[in-house]
Symmetry: C2
Subunit: 187 residues, 2 copies
Amino acid sequence: MQMTPMIESFVYHFGEMGSRWGFNRTVGQIYALLVISEQPLCANEIGDLLGISRGNVSMGLKELGSWQLVQVQHKPGERREFYHTRGSIWDMANRVFEERRKREMDPTLTLLRDIMMDEAANPEEAFAQQRITEIHDLLENITEWTQSLQSLSPEKLNTLMKLGSGVGKVLEFTDKFLGKKDPAKQA
Amino acid sequence: MQMTPMIESFVYHFGEMGSRWGFNRTVGQIYALLVISEQPLCANEIGDLLGISRGNVSMGLKELGSWQLVQVQHKPGERREFYHTRGSIWDMANRVFEERRKREMDPTLTLLRDIMMDEAANPEEAFAQQRITEIHDLLENITEWTQSLQSLSPEKLNTLMKLGSGVGKVLEFTDKFLGKKDPAKQA
DNA sequence: TTGAACGTTCAGAATTTTCTGAAAGAATAA
DNA sequence: TTATTCTTTCAGAAAATTCTGAACGTTCAA
């Protein structure tokens, strides 16, 4: 693996973006490198390519492991471990979604529910609780929905994506033909 | 406005979460405060409630303004500015999505497209380009789709959300009744 | 025109996050 | 056993981010 300008720009950009997705720059760079490398890479090679210390590479790979985004491989006769990404780009995106849900959404929903259970001590708290309930319901909706989308087959998801806002038409159409039957009941 | 334990826990949690949504802890706290306060707040009050400096409040409000998440209000006879959130919780979520798309997705898509246009200098770059194309297509799909969902009416969006994975059934149903017609064409 | 009450800015301080490299652990072969 | 080659850990260093508060700008009333 060689650091050409093309590969550098990709790796550095994903380093910056990484922090938006829940991990730091180095972790993002390591991941970017593994994604675009056809061959699995060993820790030393990663460190050399990115110009970071061996310890940092180790921590980064550990982090990526906890996200289940990398796989360890052994080459016969080699003692070193080689790393590469697992699954398709889709699988990876799913895993990031899933992991962020667990780490961010779930604790937030729990907190909001706890607050909703409390007795409001005054009108200010009552108003706050009302807002918090709205936020909770929205987040819960989005969370459940995205989760159910993830269980859809890739083909169906693709159809759905291609539909775009045309999905509105499909809903109308379905409504008309099913008559009284509420499509929501099919969920 | 008073800092009760209930309000504190909400505000602090959203401070932590804020960093995941693209702004820092203080900005998250200021926003949380404005969301659950029925009355608009002035900058001094915000600073006092959160125990942060006046300058920090000013910077935080500026940041929230750039996200179009707060509105300035003037009370008659008052020289101070009062701040509160604009629109419903849904509107706010939309605005955050929209803003993140502009700040993160668009630049990423541009970079990936640029790389896709380059000539691959060797087989390694060719492989990298292939992966980058996959990533680009996925991100573009998701971006366009979420954008088109945002243009849907709130009721339709709600129906869709409630459908959950049941949307798969609706797609099958539509397929059957439309026969040869590919629903994707309606998009 | 002065002073009071507000808002903004930004250099440097404080804090938080990330990274390094030395030490220690583990596997293997001789 | 010892040497070799790899990995991991973590205390402290380095870097990045955030925050403070003083200086300055603006508006308005007297």
